[in-house]
């Protein structure tokens, strides 16, 4: 069974997730802050960490930065109600394998945990929209090509995710295998995490100005 650590500062929300996921996965531990989460995750070495984007003493980014170098096998799945695109993208860039909103149904959440544990990326429609926005062609100026461009296919896949299509539906629509769709999503995730910081910082800054 997949071992999961829950990191969220809302006790009530953790209790809810524990109740919903209790049978599908093993909740190995819980933490309510960055300071609690870091030693706990290092000690328990879980398969997946369900991570709130916003924590009282820093963000989910802080947890990933402190844990990932020592525990590269631990996968992070961001979970938030936050609507701020730059916060969500920040956690993804720090190394989270996906982002889902807290309104997700328990079945879908269990499936997302499973997918992340298997090494896949989990893009909710909202995250797909944020990523498309971050890679938007108009967002870059001049010949500044630091942010590696998405291929037309990757863009197409992301757009279908944003429109509410599941991987299986995307595969059928684009006449691809599900594995290929997953590969495209993972490739987008990699580009997002490897591209230099300056471009996305500017994007985040521009978003604040809208």
């Amino acid at each position: 069974m997949i071992r999961v650590v829950l990191v969220d500062d809302h006790e009530l929300f953790r209790a809810g997730v524990r109740g919903e996921l209790g049978t599908a996965v093993e909740i190995a531990g819980e933490a309510g802050s960055v300071a609690e989460a870091v030693p706990l995750i290092k000690k328990l070495d879980p398969d997946v960490v369900l991570l709130d984007v916003h924590l009282p003493d820093g963000g989910g980014e802080g947890v990933i930065a402190a844990v990932a170098p020592e525990r590269p096998a631990v996968k992070f799945l961001a979970l938030s109600v936050s609507d701020a695109a730059e916060d969500v993208i920040g956690v993804i860039r720090a190394g989270a394998r996906g982002y889902v909103t807290k309104t997700i149904s328990s079945d879908e959440l269990a499936a997302a945990v499973q997918r992340v544990a298997d090494g896949d990326a989990v893009f909710s429609p909202r995250l797909a929209g944020f990523v498309l926005d971050a890679f938007r062609e108009g967002a870059r100026v001049g010949d500044d090509a630091e942010l590696e461009n998405l291929t037309a296919r990757e863009r197409e896949v992301l757009q279908l995710i944003a429109r509410g299509y599941k991987y299986k539906e995307i595969a059928a629509r684009l006449h691809l295998s599900i594995k290929t769709v997953e590969a495209h999503v993972s490739s987008v995730l990699r580009k997002l995490q490897l591209s230099s910081r300056a471009e996305l910082t500017r994007w985040a800054h521009e978003r604040r100005l809208i």
């Binding site: 909103t101 309104t103 797909a128 929209g129 926005d133 938007r136 108009g138 757009q159 429109r163 509410g164």
Partner: protein, 356 residues
């Protein structure tokens, strides 16, 4: 007759130079006694008005000898006006205006806008004003006007300063009240609603989601009030449809635009598409995706419901033909509907973006 309230003025027992009047006044007004003394000294230069006023306050002393005090104040005012170079009739005019105000005070009228004024007061004030305006003479010396100006500056300066500080504090307080009001109007009301309908899961979840949207927009978005961006407009429409039909709507966006009038048809058509999906598809979740880039705006509304065959839709169903397709056509855009029985429905709305 209205009771004129007793001013809480008392001569100071310990802070005194002559009779403790200045010290007492300073304590009442909450200002420095030296400042009060300076004002009185300057007013004393203006025809002795300061001295008369001092005696008036001494006589008043917590409302003990009001009539003597009133007479002395009147004498001080006359001395001041004469010293400033007003002629005798101007002083009479000023007296009439003051008498007019006194009538207002005692008869319970109001000099504020919309308040009623007793006729007697109007007559007195008008006669006074005419007398004053007719007789503004030139000042005989510069000492008295200069002294009065100095006194005014000393009195009003700190008052303005205090007013400014109060304003800053008031703004802070208003902000806090605004937050409290918002939390009360929205969050607390929602929590109350949830408690009352705890057994109605669909309703609770709809109410909670609506609240989440509102709060989130207030915290991260464009603030309170009407929607200012296209994404806000769509979020509003989605929240309404969620409330009315008990479905869940997932809204994703890439890019956004200010909500101009030309984009209204797009929001309305999208809302109609969401409503149709909520009413006819039997799906419990609807996906809405907004894409705004360089030269076009597109909104996708999708469900995984029962779907339909276009030819099977009765011709009198105006929702799709009029509210979605017709509306988009009239505003220069397009609407494409993809649906098949059992395969869900997707409505794609596009609008070319006007050149900036």
């Amino acid at each position: 007759m209205t009771q004129i309230p007793v001013l809480p003025f008392e001569r100071s027992g310990h802070d005194r130079v002559i009779a403790g009047v200045c010290g007492g006044l300073a304590a009442t007004l909450g200002v420095d006694a030296t400042l009060v003394r300076l004002v009185f000294a300057l007013l004393a230069l203006a025809g002795g008005a300061g001295i008369l006023l001092y005696f008036a306050l001494w006589a008043y002393d917590n409302g003990r000898r009001r009539w003597q005090a009133a007479l002395l104040v009147a004498a001080a005012a006359v001395a001041l006006l004469l010293a400033l170079g007003f002629s005798g009739s101007a002083v009479v005019g000023a007296g009439l205006i003051v008498a007019g105000f006194a009538v207002v005070l005692t008869r319970g009228g109001s000099i504020r806008r919309g308040g009623s004024l007793p006729v007697l007061a109007i007559v007195l004030m008008m006669a006074g004003a005419i007398a004053v305006l007719d007789n503004i003479g030139t000042s005989r010396s510069f000492v008295a006007p200069g002294a009065v100006a100095g006194a005014l500056l000393l009195v009003l300066g700190p008052w303005f300063w205090q007013l400014r500080n109060e304003r800053v504090q008031r703004i802070r307080l208003e902000e806090r009240q605004e937050v409290a009001a918002r939390v009360h109007d929205s969050v607390l009301q929602t929590l109350a609603l949830i408690q009352r309908h705890a057994d109605d899961a669909a309703r609770v979840s709809a109410v909670a989601r609506r609240q989440e949207r509102e709060l989130r927009r207030w915290l991260y978005g464009s603030g309170v009030g009407g929607a200012v961006t296209l994404a806000d407009g769509l979020a509003d429409a989605a929240a309404d449809v969620e409330d009315l039909h008990g479905v869940r709507i997932e809204l994703a966006t890439a890019g956004d635009l200010p909500l101009e009038e030309s984009l209204e048809p797009l929001v309305l058509a999208a809302r109609e598409a969401m409503t149709n999906a909520a009413k006819f598809s039997n799906a419990d979740e609807i996906f809405v995706y907004l894409e705004a880039d360089g030269d076009h705006v597109a909104v996708f509304v999708r469900d995984r419901g029962v779907g339909f065959e276009r030819s099977a839709v009765p011709a009198d169903r105006r929702g799709l033909a009029e509210s979605i397709e017709g509306r988009m056509r009239r505003s220069g855009g397009t609407a494409a509907v993809t649906s098949a029985p059992g395969a869900g429905t997707e409505v794609e709305l596009t609008l070319p973006r006007a050149a900036p």
